[in-house]
Amino acid sequence: MKNKKPKGKSVSYAKWGYIFIIPFFVVYVLFTLYPQFLTVYNSFFENYRDGLTQVGPRFVGLDNYKALLTPTSSGSIDIIKYFGNTIVMWIMGSVPQFVFALLLAVFFTNTRLNIKGQRIMKTVIYMPNLIMASAFSMLFYTLFSNVGPIKPLLMQMGIIDKTFDFFFITISVRSLVALLNFLMWFGNTTILLMAGIQSIDESLFESARIDGASSTRVFFNITMPLLKPIFVYTLITSMIGGLQMFDVPSVLTNAKGTPDRTVMTVIMYLNNYLGGSNNYGMAGAISVLLFIVTGILSVIVFKTIDRDKG
């Protein structure tokens, strides 16, 4: 392209390139990059509000990180526990999410099955993705709370007894979080994976069928290997999204992460410090740790995109 244009002309347009991208970069620097720098900077300071008194800012070196990474009296490190909670709940939601999405994607694209009503089905399964997460969670809370309609239904069926409380049992709260995340995301994943399968050369499936390969074999020997880049990409973006999990567990547990803080996610923990007492020091340190973890994952994504291209 460059060769086609006279050299002088291309230089004269260069300034327009800068002009066009300047708003983006100015805003990015002011509203994202500089705050990011401030976040890191804050992590080395003691800086919070104790009621009507401002404490700090006072340089404390790595004290905030030490506080985060020091084991508590019970021997566990809180921040690790919250990373763990986040990942466990992400896995609980994303395993069914990917399994069902993969199944549905295969069903929908399978010409022999020839599923009718695909459009409406896709419309239905994608819908939860657009629902306000906080509203969806609040709905779940009202439905599953002790005075909500689900409990009496399950009691009638004899599945649970009177004392059962969805919001005081680790596994049940985590399951509700996972169920919400599953519902919100499996439709999205289905559509992404479908597009991936559709981009596979149809003749490959044809020839496999002529060779008499079973559906399962076609799936494992053709679909999966060719789908892998997209699958991995979707999986890792989902994981990065999962690390940011906040709205659902926060609304479900009223920001407490109960019971026993087993539903507390990293962002909820961050929010604990940031909201209210404006503890910029500790919140900064948590953000930096989150940044590092996400950074590692981003590199992986970057690599997969690159490989996808090549």
């Binding site: 509000r49 104790d50 009507l52 404490v55 508590t72 005075v147 019971p259």
Partner: protein, 447 residues
């Protein structure tokens, strides 16, 4: 389209006109009023911060004037409310931010008066964020209960606000259940069967046998214990202290949970709410006068009159809302007038008792109702609760408070409930509570 524009123009003009007119009327009134405050220009907006709608309701019914624009006014000043719910310290945070920003805030944004509860009043009274109300013209505390004045005074005895209620609390029982379990619903007889925790436990067992609950929340009796603490939640060296009174509550809650004497749920929770319907199966609730109105709405609607009040096993008080004057207010007269009205205006105080079942911060008015043989609270089946509260009010001691009390009180109940529900060990529950406090207050030593 043009018609619409014309119409809206006319409407706007009338509104401006009417506002100007009412404004003028107001001016005359105030300049003809007290001369002591005339030198200062009063602000146009009377900004009040609160944590719920309770006081706003009384204020609008009995004190502020509603103008044609639909807004309420005190003198010339339009009343603007900022209401932020208490839970999790959200109100305190919002209030702190507003007060710290008070100097830079525009005149209409400045906080003029704010409401504070017993759990955190100390924090504001003992700071520069509140100001002397005696200088504004709130001087007559002769009818106020002493503890309400003490709670609103700083270490030098400067009074920074007033309370519009006094909050001795008692045991509110459901008469029909009391009859069934105790064979009587007479307040004195019920009291004689419930005047110690041992008796209370016995009755709880009887309740259970008859298929009732003694209380509808594990935190129901919390305040009866926490109010009788011997030390503050956070001591002078910033150490978190779990007082023996709190330990006693924890022991009781454990027993009650184990024996299923109580429903395991929040003291403000939905399950407890349901227990106040006519279908409720719970005998005892603990609270002061504001409790009927504020917490027992379901009962008011469905089973009015099926309630009685007695002292219960241990005297205590619960809550109470103070009106505090914010430093930097430009509506001193409005602030002072409001405080005086809800403290010393006998008409208003009487209405609060008669229509809202409040126990007001005016001894004269309370005693008038207490000794009035014709007065009875319909909600309590005609019982004269004011008479009992007058007695109980004598026991109130406002002591061992700290500015950390709200979250400590909330937190201990929430985290301990996880133990009661069997999800964590007691040690884990307390550990989680300490973590919660540490996150909220990094300078408090929790170990």
């Amino acid at each position: 389209m043009r018609m619409k524009k014309l119409m809206s123009g006319v409407l706007a003009a009338t509104m401006v006109l009417s506002m100007a007119l009412t404004g003028c009327g107001g001016n005359e009134e105030s300049s003809g009023g007290k001369s002591t405050n005339a030198k200062k220009e009063e602000g146009k907006v009377f900004h009040i911060m609160a944590f719920n709608e309770e006081f706003k309701g009384f204020f609008e019914s009995y004190f502020a004037k509603k103008h044609d624009d639909g807004n309420y006014y005190v003198g010339d000043a339009k009343v603007v409310w900022t209401i932020v719910p208490n839970e999790g310290g959200a109100y305190q945070d919002a209030l702190d931010r507003a007060l710290l920003n008070q100097e830079d805030a525009a005149a209409d944004e400045k906080v003029d008066m704010f409401l504070a509860e017993a759990d955190y009043i100390a924090k504001y009274v003992k700071s520069d964020a509140t100001t002397d109300v005696q200088k504004m013209g709130v001087t007559d505390f002769s009818n106020a209960y002493k503890y309400t004045v003490e709670a609103a005074s700083d270490d030098n005895g400067v009074v920074k606000g007033t309370s519009f209620q006094c909050c001795p609390a008692g045991l509110i029982y459901r008469r029909s259940i009391a009859k069934d379990v105790l064979g009587t619903d007479d307040p004195d007889e019920v009291q004689s069967k419930l005047d110690s925790w041992d008796k209370f436990d016995d009755v709880a067992e009887k309740c259970k046998k008859k298929g009732y609950y003694m209380t509808a929340s594990d935190g129901e009796t919390y305040r009866t214990f926490s109010n009788n603490k011997e030390s503050a939640w956070v001591d002078e060296d910033n150490n978190l202290v779990i007082d023996s009174a709190i330990q006693s509550w924890m022991d009781q809650a454990e027993t009650y949970a184990k024996n299923e004497y109580t429903i395991l749920g929040d003291v403000w929770g939905e399950e407890k709410e349901q227990q106040m319907l006519d279908t409720g199966k719970t005998m005892c609730f603990f609270g002061p006068a504001w409790y009927y109105n504020f917490c027992m709405g379901n009962a008011m609607d469905t089973c009015k009159g099926d309630w009685g009040l007695c002292q219960g096993p241990q005297s205590f008080f619960w809550g109470g809302t103070w009106l505090l004057a914010a430093t930097g207010t430009d509506n001193e007269k409005a602030v002072a007038d409001t405080m005086n009205a809800f403290l010393n205006d006998e008409k208003i105080c009487s209405k609060l008792v008669e229509k809202n079942q409040q126990f007001v911060n005016n001894q004269k008015v309370n005693e008038k109702f207490a000794s009035d043989p014709d007065y009875g609270n319909e909600f309590l089946g005609g019982q004269n609760d004011t008479a009992l509260f007058v007695e109980l009010a004598k026991d109130i001691k406002f002591q061992n408070t700290s500015k950390y009390d709200q979250l400590c009180n909330e937190g201990i109940q929430q985290y301990y409930r996880e133990y009661l529900k069997g999800e964590v060990t007691k040690e884990q529950a307390l550990d989680n509570f300490r973590k919660y406090i540490k996150e909220k207050y990094p300078n408090v030593n929790v170990e």
